[in-house]
């Protein structure tokens, strides 16, 4: 029971991070129907900007952890969002109206470019850092096994919940959210009714990238080590989460993120850690085969 609870706590933490990345996939897919293959790399860039941000904070002598976290969070969101915007502007926007697979191929190119750009600029080695929240407390002890919750896990869950709540409100209540939903339903009609479609799509990428930056920062703080390649696996797992929850659906992305976190942690905890990535990929394949619309998604209707 104690082991189970500990695994569950770890799973929720990991799931929160996947959920944040998954939102970026799901929103972009919802609005322009493309898989933003480079989104994992945007997450990686966010993690790197956070790493450098934390180092700058310690150089400047900002010792208080909450101040540093908020500063870095803000900085990483803003500058990673610039990446999201630029990618859309340079690599995806010119392709609207091209053949079906063009945006995906372009996204694969962007992903390769970003990985190698960071590798060239920052080196290929693992970068340790970001361990600024230490400690935790014992939740309870059972069967001689301590169930621990670290402060960091609480920070991660709080940041995720606050951001997701704010985000859902934004989609549901603000004019921007309304425009986004309009574009999702019918882009042509929305543009006829005076919605600036290009701008709305740009903002979608900006928001997705900002959330991926938060995920990157949390990932860095949680694992304490990153390299230029983390975006690939995290990206695929988050995409799996988005598909599992039902691509295009925001609550689905969060649910999917949690489920993928649970599956990964429990698989590693109870079966074998070697095959935990195989588990994630297998779930992706199984979901796509048996329930391509996901848990909370609407089935797609093919129109001629």
């Amino acid at each position: 029971m104690a082991y189970f609870s500990q695994q569950l706590i770890n799973a929720v933490t990991l799931g929160a991070i996947y959920g944040l990345i998954a939102i970026g996939y799901t929103m972009v897919y919802g609005i322009i129907g493309m898989i933003n293959f480079a989104h994992g790399e945007v997450f990686m860039i966010g993690a790197f900007i956070s790493l450098i941000g934390f180092m700058i904070c310690s150089t400047l002598g900002i010792g208080s952890a909450p101040v540093a976290i908020i500063l870095v969070l803000f900085m990483s969101m803003v500058f990673t969002a610039v990446y999201g915007w630029s990618i859309e502007r340079l690599a995806y926007r010119p392709l609207r109206g091209s053949f079906k697979l063009a945006p995906l191929i372009s996204a694969i190119g962007v992903s390769i470019v970003l990985q190698n750009y960071v590798q060239l600029a920052q080196g290929a080695r693992f970068k340790p850092g970001g361990r600024i929240v230490e400690g935790g407390f014992n939740l309870f002890t059972a069967d001689g096994f301590d169930v621990r919750v670290s402060w960091l896990q609480i920070v991660i869950v709080i940041v995720t919940v606050v951001l997701m709540a704010g985000f859902s409100l934004m989609i549901a209540r603000t004019p921007l959210g309304r425009k986004q939903r309009a574009c999702e339903q019918d882009m042509k009609m929305a543009s006829l009714l005076g919605v600036d479609v290009d701008r709305t799509i740009s903002l979608t990428f900006v928001m997705g990238a900002a959330l991926a930056a938060v995920a990157g920062m949390l990932f860095l703080m949680y694992y304490g080590i990153i390299d230029f390649f983390i975006g690939f696996l995290a990206g695929i797992k988050a995409f799996t989460a988005a598909v599992l929850g039902g691509i295009g659906s925001l609550p689905g992305a969060m649910l999917g993120g949690l489920l993928i976190g649970v599956i990964e942690v429990f698989w590693a905890g109870y079966f074998s850690s070697e095959y935990k990535d195989v588990a994630a990929f297998s779930i992706l394949i199984l979901v796509l085969i048996f329930r391509p619309s996901g848990l909370l998604g609407k089935p797609e209707i093919e129109k001629v």
């Binding site: 493309m34 898989i35 860039i45 790197f48 900007i49 790493l51 450098i52 941000g53 180092m55 700058i56 500058f79 610039v82 990446y83 915007w85 630029s86 690599a91 010119p94 392709l95 091209s98 079906k100 697979l101 063009a102 945006p103 995906l104 191929i105 372009s106 694969i108 190119g109 962007v110 992903s111 390769i112 470019v113 970003l114 990985q115 190698n116 750009y117 960071v118 060239l120 600029a121 920052q122 970068k127 340790p128 850092g129 690939f232 695929i236 995409f239 598909v243 070697e274 095959y275 990535d277 195989v278 990929f281 297998s282 992706l284 394949i285 796509l288 085969i289 391509p292 093919e302 001629v304």
Partner: protein, 472 residues
């Protein structure tokens, strides 16, 4: 230029501003390890400033060129290229390349309308038309003749032959993937998995059971094809982009299994001392194992290490040409036409009574088969394989070859392989920028030439035969 200049300057300024925002953390601070002290960083703001200035000038030059102001653009391009290629010491090699290529880009953009006009007049003259038609007819044959004669060329040393074998392997893989991506329109991001299946089939059968290369070759092809069917059967109903992600997942699963199934595959250590191919039982080595003879003994030639390479070269040449011939023939058969029709409109095909799943399945299986055969050749050539050789990036490289060449174009695959595999190997110093250039090429091709380098494709079928001298 007058009134437009301020808005161009504003545009270039904005571009430079965005570039500065992109680069400030990742380029401006370079993190590195200090042993014992952990991570620390250097400031690289000079590099960043020079790069941003280059982007400003570059954007301005491109805008000027787009407005048709050829001379100012040419001057800017020449200045930029001159600084980049000149003796002035910049903080890093990368900046030299960046500025020089930026300058070339502006000059190219400025001269583009003029060059295009010249090209199109030349193409449409009677002479140009005749030349073009003769070229299209004979170009392939000339290439094949050159490829056959290559080992006897005076410059064919070991390095050149090695590289040619490598390029031909990628050409074969590119032609195999072209069936799946180019003809059937199925984006396969896990193609390297079938390559791995072929390589491991050969490695295991030859080291464990002692079977020969020529027996295993078709077996490896069949093995990979059955993996293709096994994977394809459930997933080919999916939409294009989902299919891409599923194949990517499948490729990764195969790789992870190869790493973790240590009893069978020796895990990350790989399989060593795989026997090479034989010619009528003769081996290519200095001394033959008992019961065999070496190639040099059989032919009465002095032994040379080059013989093995030349033999490998001809094997892969024949395999690649067989792939090509097979594809060209298939395109004329009903199943080949069904592939291309499916790529264009699946719903219409279904309405016409074509079974999409089984049609896609044949494309998938045939593509996989060629990858398996190529993989088996790869294992025989390297004599050592490990899961390292079958990572996702290999799939991306093969896909880049197909995309760059122009999906469905056979000759395009050849050009793209030479360009993407040959050039980086010749210019070793570009090594670390190679993947960066790959990625950029994929994006730029999609943006500017989505049909690839060779965008013209012979129709598989013509309603009326081409009249000589007509406009076809």
């Amino acid at each position: 230029m007058g009134p437009r200049l301020p808005s161009m300057l504003k545009d270039a300024g904005l571009t430079a501003f965005v570039a500065a925002a992109l680069g400030i953390f990742i380029v401006g601070f370079r993190t590195y390890d200090v042993s014992g002290k952990g991570l620390t960083f250097d400031y690289q703001f000079t590099d960043l400033a020079i790069a941003v200035a280059t982007i400003f000038v570059g954007r301005l030059g491109l805008l000027l060129a787009a407005e048709g102001l050829r001379w100012p653009a040419l001057v800017l391009g020449a200045v930029l290229g001159g600084i980049g290629a000149g003796p002035l010491a910049l903080p890093s090699d990368f900046l030299h390349w960046f500025m020089a290529l930026g300058g070339l880009l502006i000059i190219g953009r400025a001269l583009w309308p003029w060059a295009r006009q010249r090209m199109s007049t030349a193409q449409h003259s009677r002479r140009g038309l005749l030349l073009g038609r003769a070229g299209a007819k004979w170009f392939g044959w000339i290439l094949i003749a050159g490829a056959v004669a290559l080992p006897f060329a005076p410059f064919a040393d070991q390095k050149t032959m090695d590289l040619s074998v490598l390029i031909l392997t990628y050409i074969m893989l590119g032609w195999g993937l072209n069936i799946v991506v180019g003809l059937a329109g199925l984006l396969d991001l896990g193609y390297v998995a079938f390559y791995a299946v072929g390589a491991y089939t050969y490695a295991l059968l030859s080291t464990e059971l002692g079977l020969g290369f020529w027996i295993i070759l078709p077996l490896a092809g069949m093995m990979a094809a059955s993996f293709g069917i096994l994977l394809g059967f459930p997933v080919l109903r999916l939409r294009g982009d989902y299919l891409a992600i599923v194949t990517l997942g499948f490729g990764e699963i195969i790789r992870l299994v190869l790493i973790n199934w240590v009893d069978l595959t020796h895990g990350p250590d790989g399989i060593r001392s795989i026997p090479g191919p034989t010619l009528f039982g003769a081996v290519f080595a200095e001394t033959a194992p008992a019961g065999h003879q070496t190639f040099s003994e059989m032919m009465g030639l002095p032994f040379s290490a080059n013989q093995r390479l030349i033999f490998l070269y001809y094997i892969i040449l024949v395999l690649a040409l067989a792939t090509n011939l097979f594809t060209q023939r298939l395109r004329r058969l009903p199943v080949g036409r069904a592939w291309e029709a499916l790529r264009e409109d699946e719903t219409a095909c279904r309405a016409l009574g074509i079974n999409p799943t089984s049609t896609k399945l044949t494309a998938f299986a045939i593509g996989a088969m060629f990858a398996g055969i190529a993989g088996s050749f790869f294992a025989a050539k390297q004599r050592f394989i490990s899961p390292e050789s079958f990572v996702f990036i290999e799939s991306a490289i093969i896909l880049a070859i197909v995309v760059l060449g122009g999906m469905g174009s056979q000759i395009g695959v050849v050009l793209a392989s030479v360009l993407l595999i040959g050039l980086p190997e010749w210019f070793r110093e570009l090594g670390s920028y190679r993947m960066l250039a790959f990625g950029l090429a994929m994006v730029l091709i999609m943006v500017f030439r989505p049909r690839g380098l060779i965008s013209h494709r012979e129709p598989s079928l013509r309603l009326h035969p081409v009249r000589p001298g007509g406009d076809g």
